[in-house]
């Protein structure tokens, strides 16, 4: 039994990937769409794993970075007429650039204060999209852009391949010197600084990596839906991405992928319950947390509370007294 468990743990990522590759053949069209969204969310959530799980900086503005990626891709294709691949590359680059800028407030703020800043950023982006109607289509949304690859299925395989490579990279980062620096940041910023970690640079790298993945996920989102609307990028969306990281255990790459797919599909699985759907959804999440499947301690729910700054909410990134 223990052996089986160990075996499963070792090959978990591979198993998940194989299941994902098999998915198009065994799912209905609608189910397939949900799986696609799950994979696309997982790419985003792996970025949040670096930012929130490894580095302990809580962001609730990630939907805005997703939107930046998706809209930049859409706009460059529809309004500028670029090739989809060039559009995708530029979209990811711009999102990374803007996301890195988000690290600037994190130089001075931590805990709930950083969260509020990121929420504010998210709202600014959403309102900009709503109001820059000539470019973004405003509340009507944006449509009419091409996909990266001609068929949905090929886009899906591209996405799974990307997810696999990203998963391995994120895992590696977690074990690398950079990962160690990010974790030391999460644990104790002053001590990290004393150890010679360049705290600002580490924060910027963390924000940049997570924004890059959010941008990529946004590009895929545009590919999946073929239509973009500001409603898909609300603060509530950001919160559900946070949920996916937390439920995934906050440290585990495979956990983050599985929880992204499960949480993406949960509302759909529960659809037969119609009006009581949301109630059951919340109950399932509560029971899950209650059962303590999410570890407490090392970077988990308790860790999240600490990240939020609940026990000692001074709000300053550095308290050198």
């Amino acid at each position: 039994m223990v052996k089986l468990f160990k075996w499963l743990k070792k090959y978990a990522l591979l198993i998940v990937m194989l299941l994902l590759l098999a998915a198009p053949s065994v799912t209905s069209q609608y189910e397939f769409y949900v799986v696609q969204r799950g994979v696309q969310n997982a790419i985003h959530v792996l970025g949040l794993l670096i930012l929130i799980g490894y580095s302990g900086m809580l962001s609730l503005g990630s939907a805005a970075l997703l939107a930046t990626g998706a809209y930049t891709y859409g706009i460059l294709l529809v309004k500028v007429g670029l090739n989809p691949w060039v559009g995708a590359a530029l979209a990811v680059a711009l999102t990374t650039f803007i996301g890195t800028g988000l690290a600037l407030p994190a130089f001075r703020l931590a805990g709930p204060f950083l969260v509020v800043t990121t929420v504010g950023f998210g709202e600014i982006v959403r309102i900009l999209i709503l109001n820059m109607e000539p470019i973004t289509g405003g509340a009507y949304g944006l449509a009419g852009f091409a996909k990266l690859l001609p068929s949905t299925r090929w886009v899906y395989y591209l996405m799974v391949a990307a997810l696999f490579l990203i998963a391995i990279a994120v895992k590696r980062i977690g074990e690398s010197r950079l990962g160690l620096a990010l974790k030391s940041l999460r644990e104790d910023e002053v001590a990290a600084e004393v150890m010679g970690v360049d705290v600002r640079r580490a924060k910027m790298v963390s924000f940049a990596l997570s924004a890059m993945l959010a941008g990529l996920s946004g590009v895929f989102l545009a590919n999946l839906t073929g239509y973009l609307s500001p409603d898909s990028f609300t603060a509530a969306e950001s919160a559900s991405y946070l949920l996916m990281v937390v439920m995934g255990g906050m440290q585990s790459v495979t956990g983050a992928i599985v929880s992204s797919i499960v949480i993406t599909s949960l509302p759909e699985v529960l659809r037969f319950l119609s009006s009581s759907r949301l109630l059951v959804y919340s109950l399932v999440l509560l029971v899950y947390l209650r059962l303590n499947w999410v570890r407490t301690g090392k970077g988990s729910l308790a860790g999240l509370m600490k990240t939020l700054g609940f026990p000692l909410g001074t709000g300053r990134a550095k308290d050198r007294s």
Partner: protein, 242 residues
Amino acid sequence: MLKINDLVVAYEVAPVLHSVSLEVQAGKIVTLLGANGAGKSTTLKAISGLIKPLSGSIEFCGEVISNKRPDEIVKMGLAHVPEGRLVFPGLTVTENLKIGAYTRKASRSEVKSDMQKAFDLFPRLAERCNQLAGTMSGGEQQMLSIARAMMSNPKLLMLDEPSLGLAPVIIDSIMDKIREINEAGTTVLLIEQNAELALSISHYAYVLSVGEVVLSGDSESIAEDKAVLEAYLGGESEGRTD
């Protein structure tokens, strides 16, 4: 090795250090004594670049470091064990030690052999290498924070009250380790509340009072001058020697 000249440091506006000058010679253990709030920790923070001084100069190995970032200073071979042993509670002992070697472009095998050295110095850490640092006892955490600082292979090790909150037996063993580290070639700058203890292991001493150096000299001669010492330390040393 370390030379501080006319250092002025302030947190908000009012200076905490008025004019501190001191010198640490290579190979020695130098202790910095002073009552609570005298500015000892502040001095160390200024040396390791955590706070920028208003004026004055700090020179390390002949190079001015007062305008350098903390990570650059660590790289030059200056390690700081902060007050209250700031280990990384959610990381294992091994991970904590690895971060100690963060600034060095050392190979895996080099880090491993240095980790072995750290384990030789503090065998207790070897037994607990996979334990989360936050779950260790105070004494073990102090050992870890010293071992972690040593992983950067420093020329100068600065220790801020390593005896804080520890039992006398543990304090004695920590002091022995500090002496051992020094004998192996690392210069030490030690902050202590327990003056008698610090003077017993150090070669040279400075006494800080309200942000100024008021007394300095060979540890032995300072130790003899009990009355003067007590006047500056506010009788602290009496109460804490036992």
